[in-house]
Amino acid sequence: MNIVVCIKQVPDSAQIRVHPVTNTIMRQGVPTIINPYDLFALEEALKLRDRYGGKVTVLTMGPPMAKQALEKALAYGADEAVLLSDRHFAGSDTLATSFAISRAITNLGLRHAPEIVFTGKQTIDGDTAQVGPGIARRLELQQLTYVTKIVSVDLHAREITVERRSEGGTQMLKSQLPCLISVLEGVNALRRGSVADALRAARAQIPTWRAADAGIVEIANCGLRGSPTVVKRVFAPTPRAEKAIQIKLNDDQCGPLVDEIIASIFEHQPALEASFQPNGLT
């Protein structure tokens, strides 16, 4: 099998702090990591390779620094990695991003088109979950999102059966290769790369593809110019105007304090009292 996994290097958003006074993002000390959701996709791909043979190629689009994310992916056991990086890609929205990545995947698969393209559910900085569907649509892959389990793969019949999460339940689907799979978080546990994997990753010469190397000619479809959406304003959420009612714990026992809290709740929301019905005290 020829499997491609799309990953993204993102700032560790849990570490992002907004400066209390200037409301600007405090950039110092916000390290970059592999988008956590993508690691579940990588593990799923590695499991398929271990079972059916073939190779897993990891692809990312980003600045030169994103090569570190590819190195880490190789260290987990991926076979090859490609960095898609070009000044023209700067400012791409999801539409332009899916265009560039789709072209790179086609270029990757010239000899042997990939059977499955894996992505994470979404990124923790973009959170749009749109690039996966974009790639599927452009490469005419079957689109299987929020997949929780790959039930079976039949390479001869080029069929695949998966379970995916949908509203209110789990859908079982039978589809065909090639397909795009976005993996839900929590479905597997990422392995630890072996010594050999780590050595290979540390020595890998990861190629950087500019637009031309990825077979992209239509520069107008890339970067800002290829992006229908544009960010006009970035601002901090405005703190609530009226200050919260402060209830201080004067002495240690909670009695009076608790009654005060409940009083303020019911005074603020009289209707609430009616809707309180303890549901079967266990």
């Binding site: 405090m26 110092q28 000390g29 260290a75 630890r192 072996s194 010594v195 994997d197 780590a198 050595l199």
Partner: protein, 435 residues
């Protein structure tokens, strides 16, 4: 890839590990470096001061691209009691030289830069890899390292133990003891972020001049300890380190000492309005010369904090670490060049290089200092600071009492506290420990 073999494996990507790996890689050795953190620096904690003199010997043009915060122009030594500090400040424009002597750095960024140099020199660096055990043959000679990654051990002619003060591998391989509670200090530290110009204003600095404050006294509540405050470009590293045995005996909480230090009237205004972004803790070797373990053996050498190479009196560590790492690398490469094997007798070269360097000389000079500080902690960290600050205040305060009376009262206070004999013996013992 059946058990690939290397000339050398360096365990740890801190100051000593990077220096050793760089030295050997530059001499063409096939070197593998293991770092248990996500990236070099993610597990390293230090004040932190970089001593240019040590790094110049390894990477002469480091100033071109190394991430340096401020070059130091002012050193403040303070003796503190509850409400005051009495100090000696030394600041000189000479330090605004073309190649400044000392810098403040941020370890996570600096170690990552140093590791990039190590990789450029040809060393293979594996991160997120914990070395779990030494591979030793029946006679105890070290022949490689086991890691926590699937796959067998990695073999090498020599293993450079640059694993830090706890010496995880060394103690497990019975090459040394776990450090004693009275030979290590626990430092807790916070990174306070402030705009660059606010820092410059508060310490009277221009451009990227830097200032360091090191303070002893009642802030460590009788435990031998030292508070420190380093100015970085747009942050201040502030912390306090105390002898572990002292902390345990006094049942003191390090984070309470740090909060008290931060709230001290002399410190609070310097960090007012800051945004704290990290809280770290680290052990610092304080045993001095007497705590240095066996430094070499068949197939291994120990460098940096793992060899307890830290000068307590001058609070210098990273230069000793870098130098010991570099010398170990140099010695191994020399042995290799003359076709020698990595046996104990050949590796003695590393120890002799170390002996003739400042590293052992300084540690020999101050080998009594740790015991001196430890034995007299109550006097040195409680009584003297109080006496000194009272003396200073009485000297400064104008209250109608005659100067003669004031001096008499001050000397009476010293005599009452330490008696004539106590004062003399303290002075003699201090001088002997310092000589």
């Amino acid at each position: 890839m059946k058990g690939e073999k290397f000339h050398a494996i360096v365990v740890g990507a801190g100051m000593s590990g990077n220096a050793a790996a760089y030295a050997m890689a530059m001499r063409g050795l096939k070197v593998l470096q293991l770092e248990r953190g996500e990236y070099p620096g993610s597990k390293n904690v230090q004040g932190a001061i970089l001593y240019a003199d040590a790094l110049e010997k390894i990477i002469p043009d480091f100033r071109d691209d190394a991430p340096l915060e401020r070059h130091l122009v002012e050193q403040r030594f303070w003796i503190m009691d509850g409400a005051s500090h009495t100090g000696i400040h030394y600041r000189s424009d000479d330090f605004n030289e073309r190649r400044p002597n000392r810098y403040t750095i941020i370890r996570a960024q600096f170690d990552r830069w140093f590791s990039a140099k190590v990789r450029e020199a040809g060393c293979t660096v594996l991160c997120e890899t914990l070395a779990t055990r030494l591979k030793q043959d029946s006679r105890g000679n070290v022949t490689g390292v086991y890691t926590d990654r699937p796959g067998e051990a990695i073999s090498a002619d020599v293993v450079v133990l640059a694993e830090g003060v706890n010496g995880f591998l060394g103690t497990r391989g019975r090459l040394r003891e776990t450090p004693k509670p009275d030979s290590v200090a626990l430092a807790v530290k916070e990174m306070h972020f402030l705009p660059e110009d606010v820092i410059a204003e508060r310490f009277g600095l221009t451009a990227d001049e830097g200032c360091v404050i090191e303070a002893g006294g009642t802030i460590s509540r009788g435990v031998p300890g030292l508070g420190f405050l380093y100015t970085n470009k747009e942050s201040i590293s502030i912390g306090i380190g105390c002898l572990v045995s002292g902390l345990a005996a006094a049942m003191e909480r390090p984070y309470d000492l740090l909060e008290a230090f931060k709230h001290h009237p002399s410190i609070r205004p310097l960090i007012a309005g800051s945004e704290v972004k990290e809280y770290a803790a680290h052990l610092i070797p304080e045993g001095g010369f007497t705590a240095i373990p066996q430094l070499f053996g068949n197939g291994w050498v120990v460098v940096g904090d793992a060899a307890q190479l830290n000068n307590t009196a001058h609070r210098e560590g990273s230069n000793l670490a870098m130098t010991s790492g570099y010398l170990a690398g140099k010695a191994i490469a020399d042995v290799k060049d003359r076709g020698g094997s990595m046996v104990k007798s050949n590796l003695a070269l590393y120890k002799s290089m170390l002996d003739s360097s400042f590293v052992i000389k300084d540690l020999m000079k101050h080998k009594e200092m740790p015991r001196f500080l430890h034995a007299n902690s109550q006097n040195l960290f409680v009584s003297y600071p109080k006496l000194i600050s009272k003396a200073a205040q009485s000297f400064v305060r104008v209250d109608g009492n005659s100067k003669l009376d004031k001096e008499k009262a001050t000397s009476a206070a010293f005599l009452k506290a330490r008696s004539r004999w106590g004062l003399i013996s303290d002075a003699v013992r201090l001088a002997r420990a310092w000589r």
